[in-house]
Symmetry: C2
Subunit: 320 residues, 2 copies
């Protein structure tokens, strides 16, 4: 919810000399995106987003992210596309930051999730997974099971400040996940952060998915597990099986999943819950007092984790 | 630089039922405006700003501000105009806040001020002053000389934290201004906050002025004095007499000022410097640790105040 780097209009003018976008008609910082600085840029040629990549995005990952968006857009997936400058490069620099101009995606993200949103999401995610198959770059998921122990070690000493006994409970959960994490599920490009604020709708259709800055290679079902957590719980932490069924049914009509994927869902959902719990916990404990961004509640994901720990099979998610 | 009130898309939909704006195509919080929450709203009918008035704007002043914008737009001044709902009212409520939809103004505000900007500003300000004459509402300037002593009293006990001896120097300055403040200069509607980020340019022209939430009745020359401080100092605190001359010359070609106004400029410029020094000092000393907005440096205005204290006549501003 912030702009971290202030871009002077004069810097923008210099930056735009590499493009043919005509006269600037408007340029405003937008209060979206936790990781990067985003500006809405209107010119004679249309509306665009100027993104400055801030310190949480590793510069060496940017060719993967931008290349993926270009690839997916070419494959017909509704997502923002980087705009190349005259020299063909889309990754440039402004105000000392890596930056790119990205196409503007119409639509609004839903604050109150309806089953219909989950249905459209399932279909779009499956199409994204299929379209990623022909993308020839690779990026490991740094926030999969192998990345959780360092996060736990960094947060465990102060986890009790958030909830008594939390570190011990997370240690036990992590040990279980490390011992049982599946290694042979179908894999490919996943979005890995398809929260509602990254999915835009326009009237009755899903107009696009944004924010590919966690995208990576991992098992497809893990993307579904992330969405079960992000889309299918009510504000009172109750799991909404109707929304889960809509998500999964719509997905498998486009990309049918194997019985192994289905069986693995409860475990993957536990893993996904632990992943967001740990990063939120880390952010909360390391939150600088004067920071712009209000930290998200890690315990929301504690409740989700507990739900999935009790799940005995995919029937709990509305599927047989 | 923040959005203080998060507007759910569903709240927006309800709010828009009072308008005929067609389907929403995009809705994004924008990182501009220190006092209010602003959203950029695109619909089938065009682009608009949704402003939520936060606690620093007194609700009883809103009819004045919105009425003034409507009036000025009718008089041909380039400024945002409130959009009335079907019932004719433009001031409504969303998420428990007073709110209005305002027309969107193209243009960008200049980060590096050129003399040409000051020339266009002077002309536009004079036209604004003339257009205000036929506006029939009145609002006292709460931040003129009568409002400074309470601010000084609230900040004096801790002013030394910012600069040794600051409270004493401000007390002496305020006593001088209270004793000498002019009372018979030509008056009318002034903007009272025409900083560069409130003035938009598009190519070679000034496309409009925004943010009328400090507008009030006061002497016209005080508006000029505010702009001498806000537009005519370089980043190293040096006063740029060329820019001042451009501002004042362009102004008086539209609205010639009296010799009394000209003579009063140094005093008004001291007053304007004290006003922004005091409010910035107050904001700095009362800055909540977790706040979004980074406080501005009060001492920038200490340097401006010292400059004007040495001025012996309007020649210092480029005029005879």
């Amino acid at each position: 919810m912030a702009v971290y780097t202030e871009v002077a209009y004069e810097d923008l003018e210099l930056f735009l000399e590499e493009y043919d976008l005509g006269q600037v008609r408007s340029f405003k910082g937008i209060a979206e995106g936790v990781e990067n600085s985003n500006y809405l840029l209107s010119t004679d040629q249309g509306t665009f987003i100027l993104t400055l990549y801030e310190k949480r995005v590793a510069p060496e990952d940017l060719p993967f992210f931008l290349g993926l968006m270009e690839h997916l857009a070419r494959e017909g997936i509704d997502c923002p596309t980087p705009l190349p400058g005259r020299d063909g490069r889309s990754l440039r620099e402004i105000c000392g930051r890596p930056a790119a101009i990205i196409s503007f995606l119409e639509g609004v993200w839903p604050r109150r999730i309806l089953p219909q949103h989950c249905r459209l999401l399932g279909e779009a995610m499956a199409r994204l997974h299929l379209a990623g198959a022909s993308f020839n770059m690779h990026r490991d998921n740094a926030l999969s099971v192998g990345g959780w122990r360092p996060l736990l070690e960094a947060t465990a000493p102060r986890a009790h400040e958030v909830q008594e006994g939390l570190a011990e409970a997370l240690e036990s959960e992590l040990a279980y996940l490390e011992a049982n994490w599946p290694s042979s599920l179908p894999e490919g490009i996943i979005h890995a952060d398809l929260f509602p604020d990254n999915v835009f709708f326009l009237g009755d259709r899903l107009s696009g998915m944004i924010d590919f800055y966690f995208a990576c290679n991992d098992c497809f079902a893990y993307d579904l597990a992330i969405c079960l957590n992000a889309w299918c719980f009510e504000r009172d932490n109750a799991f909404n099986i109707t929304k889960a069924r809509c998500l999964l049914q719509a997905y498998r009509q486009v990309r049918p999943f194997t019985s192994e994927e289905l069986e693995a869902l409860p475990l993957l959902a536990r893993g996904s819950a632990l992943r967001f719990l740990l990063t939120r916990l880390y952010d909360l404990l390391n939150h600088p007092p004067g920071a712009f961004v209000k930290p998200k509640d890690p315990l929301e994901y504690w409740n989700k984790l507990r739900f999935h720990q009790e799940v005995r099979g995919p029937g709990a998610y509305g599927l047989d």
